[in-house]
């Protein structure tokens, strides 16, 4: 029995490592730092999407290569899962791509950390942004500088199960509807369906196309202009939560378990599983495809029915194309951005795969080849963007969200859920929400 499995070794190991750790600091000092650019001799470009978008990008890039045989492009693509994990690792490891598809929710964070290249010096020269509205470009603008070219317009709309409404004999709401109309319609859905279907998914915790709109109708932004504070008051949030508490009581929206299940999971969305007819989640209808066989239609977000209500909707930027600052090929990347922004063949290849195209010219180029639902989707977007541009009382489009924004959105969602599950009162949760939000934004 000579051999003994070591028993006290682990303690020794742990302390040994701690000593060695002091030396490790010097080793590690070089691990950080911004990316030094890629080592490839081609321009590296990366995006996320599903297979339709991949095919469209590749087709368009093939056209670009024909026109610019001097620019070699190495493209990589994947789904959204892990896309930014990989990007972060690449930057930390020193090998960022030259050109990438960027999320409007993250552009401010990367721009402020010095990861992205400012594009202003190219605008009007090699980067033609004719037809891009100022509010649209705001989606890629951080602290006054442009860091990304928007691929399309995103507007705030609800997705509606039109066939479900018709089956219950309910009238399709007017696009100029209010929050009170939404409540009434949603309650009707529950009654007419004999309690089988709720009206609308619980928006108490959803920020985008939902609470943010409500706050803007009250003349408040979600984040302050510098991104260091929340831009809305506790009263506004309280009113909002009370509205949704009443919605839950009257079964206008589903109980919290359904809401919780659908968090980050389209396949459990209330409209997809047939539990509701209206949803704030725009993902339920992806370009050209859907995971429900219901006939879908679209409606602008409801308007404020209180005195002094302003236009709350705004136009957002789809996804962005951004160049990295460490890249030595920013000028070439800009040529590719320009190609996707203005070239008719590229626009036709991309169709609605990166959102509804940003310019009037582009929209008319693709309108011929669209299916019915796509057309309705684009018509609603047109309707909203026209209304927004005509409105005199609308706040400027929101600034790109600051670092920590996704934590705040998550906090809002969880807070609403805590109220809905009855774990906290609205009053108590309000205090906690503002405390924690301040902590997150202060970092």
């Amino acid at each position: 029995m000579g051999h003994q499995i070591p028993r006290r070794t682990l303690f020794r190991t742990a302390s040994g490592l701690a000593v060695a750790g002091a030396l490790g600091g010097t080793l590690a000092a070089c691990a950080g730092g911004t990316g030094a650019g890629s080592r490839s001799d081609k321009l590296t470009m990366t995006w996320w999407g599903s297979d339709d978008r991949h095919a469209a990008y590749k087709k368009a890039l093939a056209q670009f290569r024909e026109k610019h045989p001097d620019i070699g492009i190495q493209e990589t693509y994947q789904g959204y899962d892990g896309y930014f994990d990989k990007f972060n690792t690449n930057i930390a490891g020193g090998s960022a791509p030259d050109l990438l598809q960027m999320d409007t929710a993250l552009v401010a964070q990367y721009a402020r950390k010095g990861v992205l290249a400012s594009l202003d010096s190219y605008v009007g020269k090699s980067l033609d942004l004719t037809g891009f509205s100022k509010t649209l470009l705001a989606a890629g603008t951080v602290d006054g500088k442009l860091y990304g070219v928007p691929s399309g317009i995103g507007v705030n709309q609800l997705t509606v199960n039109r066939s479900g409404l018709e089956k219950l004999g309910l009238k399709y709401p007017d696009p100029e509807w209010t929050w009170a109309d939404l409540r009434k319609t949603a309650q009707d859905v529950y009654k007419k369906s004999g309690g089988k279907t709720y009206g609308v998914d619980d928006g108490g915790g959803s920020t985008l196309q939902c609470f943010e709109i409500f706050a803007r109708e009250k003349g408040q932004q979600f984040f302050s202009g510098d991104g260091k504070k929340l831009g809305f008051t506790a009263d506004t949030l309280q009113e909002w939560w009370e509205y949704w508490a009443q919605m839950r009581r009257t079964h206008a929206c589903p109980p919290p378990a359904v809401t919780s299940a659908a968090h980050n999971d389209l396949t459990k969305n209330a409209v997809v599983i047939g539990k509701a007819l209206f949803t704030f989640d725009s993902g339920v209808y992806g370009a050209g495809g859907s995971i429900t066989d219901a006939q879908l239609d679209f409606l602008p977000t409801p308007q404020g029915d209180f005195s002094g209500a302003r236009e709350g909707n705004f136009v957002n930027g789809g996804v962005l194309l951004s160049a990295t600052r460490a890249s030595k090929r920013v000028a070439e990347s800009v040529q590719i951005m320009d190609f996707f922004a203005q070239d008719p063949t590229a626009i036709k290849d991309m169709r609605l795969l990166r959102g509804i195209p940003p310019t009037q010219k582009a929209r008319s180029l693709i309108s011929a080849g669209l299916n019915d639902t796509d057309k309705r989707n684009m018509a609603t977007a047109d309707y909203i963007s026209r209304r927004v541009s005509k409105a005199t009382d609308a706040l400027p489009a929101p600034v790109p969200p600051p670092q920590g924004a996704d934590q705040i959105w998550d906090l809002l969602f969880q807070s609403n859920l805590a109220v809905a599950f009855g774990k906290k009162s609205i009053k108590a949760q309000l205090g906690e929400f503002f405390d924690q939000a301040a902590g997150i934004l202060a970092k």
Binding site: A14, G49, E75, D85, G288, S290
Partner: protein
């Protein structure tokens, strides 16, 4: 020592159950197996449904059948899915060979030799298991980046030849330690050096552990997402887990049917690997009878 033929031994009689008990065992096994198989059946059924039905009609029997999921998933966007399977097999088989060779060498040293600082080394080895992968991902990436190994399979295969999977070393140590030491002592007296003892005695006797290592390395490498995601950049180097994400994008519409179809197909290599090697595990029974 008398030869043990399974058929003649009392043990064999113990194992051959009487009729009614056999039925009982079978019923029990079938019942549990159905519960275990449910998700596979659900995945198979979903792979045959149109996207619009998968989540709205989640039952096991598809209402409408759409075999095109398979052809569309297989041809994919740009690269055929077969490419990802081939790439995965390259990585996986390399990793299996690496782990079996390097971990058994290290395990033999830990189980059979005394040497300076052995306990510390052993503790260090276990220590490498205790830090979450996410925490060391970036420094690891830096190493491979400096070796210019990014976008190759080397970061996924070479570490296995350097026995970085402490799990398998520890596993094999435990197996070697239940091989009676008299066997290698006897061989040593017969003039065998440690290498030939490792090769001729230890390796054959720890076959169950080697097979287990093969099965697990194969499956875990085949399923590993994070490392393949980070190290493989170009799409023609992609492996199965990366290929599967190409179908899903919550922001622009996903092809769930094609994803389920390819998930089902992609399961075949691991299933075949398991079936083939678990059979070897059974055969191991007959040979290990000799060691008593």
């Amino acid at each position: 020592m008398s030869a043990l033929t399974p058929n003649a031994s009392p043990l064999a009689r113990l194992r051959s159950l009487t009729g009614s008990r056999r039925i009982l065992v079978h019923t029990l096994l079938v019942g549990v197996a159905v519960v275990m198989l449910y998700p596979l059946l659900w995945m198979l059924s979903s792979s045959l449904k149109p996207d619009t039905d998968i989540f709205t009609h989640p039952g096991l029997i598809p209402g409408r059948v759409r075999p095109e999921n398979y052809s569309e998933g297989w041809s994919g966007s740009g690269n055929s899915f077969s490419l990802y399977i081939v790439n995965s097999l390259i990585v996986t088989i390399g990793a299996v060979i690496g782990n079996v060779v390097s971990c058994s060498l290290a395990a033999y040293a830990f189980a059979r030799f005394e040497f300076r600082g052995k306990r510390i080394w052993f503790g260090l080895m276990l220590g490498t298991l205790m830090l979450p992968t996410q925490a060391v991902l970036i420094p690891q990436y830096t190493i491979f980046y400096n070796l210019t190994w990014i976008n190759t399979y080397l970061p996924l295969i070479v570490p296995k030849f350097l026995a970085v999977d402490a799990f398998f070393i520890f596993l094999m140590v435990q197996f070697i330690r239940s091989v009676p030491r008299e066997l290698d002592q006897a061989a040593m007296v017969d003039g065998a050096n440690p290498w030939s003892i490792y090769w001729r005695i230890i390796l054959p006797l720890m076959r169950p552990a080697l097979i287990t290592t093969t099965i697990f390395t194969f499956i875990w490498t085949y399923d590993d997402f994070l490392h393949q995601l980070v190290y493989l950049q170009q799409n023609d180097r992609f492996t199965v887990p990366l290929g599967l994400t190409l179908f899903l994008d919550q922001t622009s519409g996903s092809s769930y049917g094609a994803m389920f179809a390819m998930s089902t197909l992609a399961l075949l290599p691991t299933l075949i690997c398991f079936l083939v090697f678990q059979k070897r595990l059974v055969e191991g029974m007959a040979t290990s009878g000799m060691k008593g």
